[in-house]
Symmetry: none
DNA sequence: AATGAATGAGGCTTCATTCAT
DNA sequence: GATGAATGAAGCCTCATTCAT
């Protein structure tokens, strides 16, 4: 039973993935401008010309990477959050999930936070990504406010600040030469963030409503 | 009264400043890699070769810019803070000053927060800069803890988170196509940050201990 | 019968050769520093960028040229010498072959003797090349001494001096605006060099043990 | 007693000399193309602009250097030779003097023999210089022939070969990392050169007609 | 689908020379 | 006479993209 058509397509999309993988590695390691198509080709073990069969430009690879990577992470957060009922717990879980994923995948974190290096024209894309995270957080905060769990606040600015706090803690951890486990920062970060939106001290002291962080395995993707 | 020596020196350092200015503008607008020496030369109205009389490499210009710019800002913060006695007020003033300066000088802000785009090799410099700000904040938090004004916390992580929150709020503002006044974010940001370290609600509600933010003028330098 | 792999390789190395040829011409004509990559590209009828697919730097081209050119010449000398039995005849043939090759290929000669102009860093390479020739000569002189054909002498210094004499005669010929045939110098050169190591006058007067020099055709490569 | 005019002139030519000295050092060390006007200025402790008051171009400095340096050496040789009566002795002394001067002044030697690096347009000058030496030698050989001290030979080619032999021995010595005394080469060189023109073996064995070489002091200029 | 080779625009830097003082 | 500063033409090299096979 021959499936020439299907097979071809399969192989093609396999190549696509390989290229995306290679690009991901090199972009994350060296930044956009300092990654040459040659580097991607080498990392993906494909010829430079071959890449251009699948992607029209270098930029298109980067854009696709940002889109899919962010989508994956957001999906992960949302499914983790869906388990929780309590709005504050939802926020906690979201925070924890992001930290967990980043801790387990330094590469992705670097790509996210240093994408500024991609130069003009990526600002938009990068901004959109940050924005999606911020709005995710905002939705939980809004729910918490609506629920009466926390007092009314400007959830837009607050969610941006939350994301920024998270971002910077991760970034500093990334830049540390010999970083300790990122999860060490979790209790403090959790406490100050919850406190910042007026979660009662008792609730904070009660500890995570969720099972404690396991060791963050270095996820393969 | 001739001062030939001094005079030439004066002219030289004037050129240096002009170049630094031009570089600042273009770096801030386009990022490091997307700024060509030709752009800097054009912005500084000097020949490309002329730049090399004053700076050995493009990188050296960028590094000098990061160093001096950060130093200026830190000095400004410290002198503003020196006026205050109360440790919490100090923190407030620091926060406000940074916001004020950035609001008045979007260019500087961009250079600071998008320097990641400068590519490998500036990470260190950039990190150092972030670190200096974080430690500045930390020193005020430590004082507040010592003073009993706030309960004991991990001030290292907290200061990093504070800086991150500030950073992200400014960054989002920078990226907004038609940003409103940055100072609009101040009350909320102030409230959540103070709250996050356990400042009593009464103190927060009392409002800034300092005169309200005036309009942020677009400072010329 | 398709041989796609081989074919591409063939084309690549054809280009390599073309570049090497073009570089050879221009280096020989203008010297290393006065040869621009643009010149090589023009001579090889390839784009400047194309050259960099085959060679990492301008210097690498020059080095390769020195290496292969010297090797070719030495091989030619050795095979010509191999035919002779008599050690003195060997020396004669070596001398004659070099003169013959240079006479037929002024370009190569220039590259060899003016490579000093290549600037610091080629001294080593150039020296090594001179040295190889000197040692070649030395080996024949040593054999002649061992054979009793000539009295014992310091063959190291003598071979260097021989090479120098040869070098200078060729160089002067190269520099002459309208040089006569280089082979005109052969009888005199042969006589003084043989005499200098104590070859009996009778042997010298007997003339070359080898067939007289034919017209030196301008070899194509 | 004021001598403003004279003084000015004196100072001017003093500067000229200083520049020439500095240029000599740097040219000799790095070659023509690898010597920048900045290097000369630094070596002469004068401003780059100042140089252009005394010399119109970089090339003019080099040309002047070659001319005067060669002239000095030739004068030295001629005065040393003038003392001798015997034509063969004259040749010996010339040979010895050049060796002596070069041995004592590696810098000058390098400038002479590596001047090829000066690129097109200096070939002429360099050639002229080599030629002057060769003709000097030739004049002694001619005298020796006329005198009957040696048999008739093509003195033109012979003198070129002599110069080349000398040149190469010095060059190899220059290139040696840890060169022994150059004068060690003298006896061998003397023997082969004299032998090459048919000087009787007895005369050669008799040793130099002149006092043995003293230690070659590193002459200051 | 994929490859190796080639292109050409553009980037950083050097440096002989000129100029204002 | 001399200086520091500036100029501008090259020069070497990189790299995203295209092309022939």
């Amino acid at each position: 039973m021959r499936r020439p058509r299907q097979q071809t397509t399969d192989r093609a999309s396999a190549s696509r993935e390989t290229i995306l993988d290679g690009a991901f590695q090199t972009f994350a390691k060296n930044g956009y401008r300092d990654t040459a198509m040659d580097d991607i080709a080498a990392a993906a073990e494909i010829s430079k010309g071959g890449i251009y069969f699948h992607f029209p430009t270098k930029e298109s690879i980067f854009r696709e990477l940002m889109r899919t990577t962010a989508a994956k992470l957001i999906a992960k957060v949302e499914s983790a959050v869906a388990v929780e009922r309590d709005p504050i717990s939802k926020a906690e879980v979201a925070l924890r999930t992001v930290l967990e994923v980043f801790a387990g995948h330094r590469t992705m974190a670097r790509l996210f936070f240093e994408a500024g290096g991609a130069g003009r024209g990526f600002q938009t894309e990068l901004n959109a990504m940050h924005d999606r995270f911020a709005r995710l957080i905002q939705s939980y905060l809004d729910a918490a406010v609506a629920d009466g769990a926390i007092p009314p606040i400007d959830t837009r600015i607050t969610s941006v600040a939350w994301f920024g706090a998270l971002d910077e803690v991760v970034a500093q951890w990334l830049l540390a030469s010999r970083p300790g486990p990122l999860e060490d920062a979790y209790p403090t970060l959790r406490a100050i963030l919850l406190r910042s939106v007026g979660v009662p001290e008792a609730r904070i002291a009660a500890g995570p409503a969720i099972e404690p962080l396991a060791a963050f395995p270095e996820a393969s993707e």
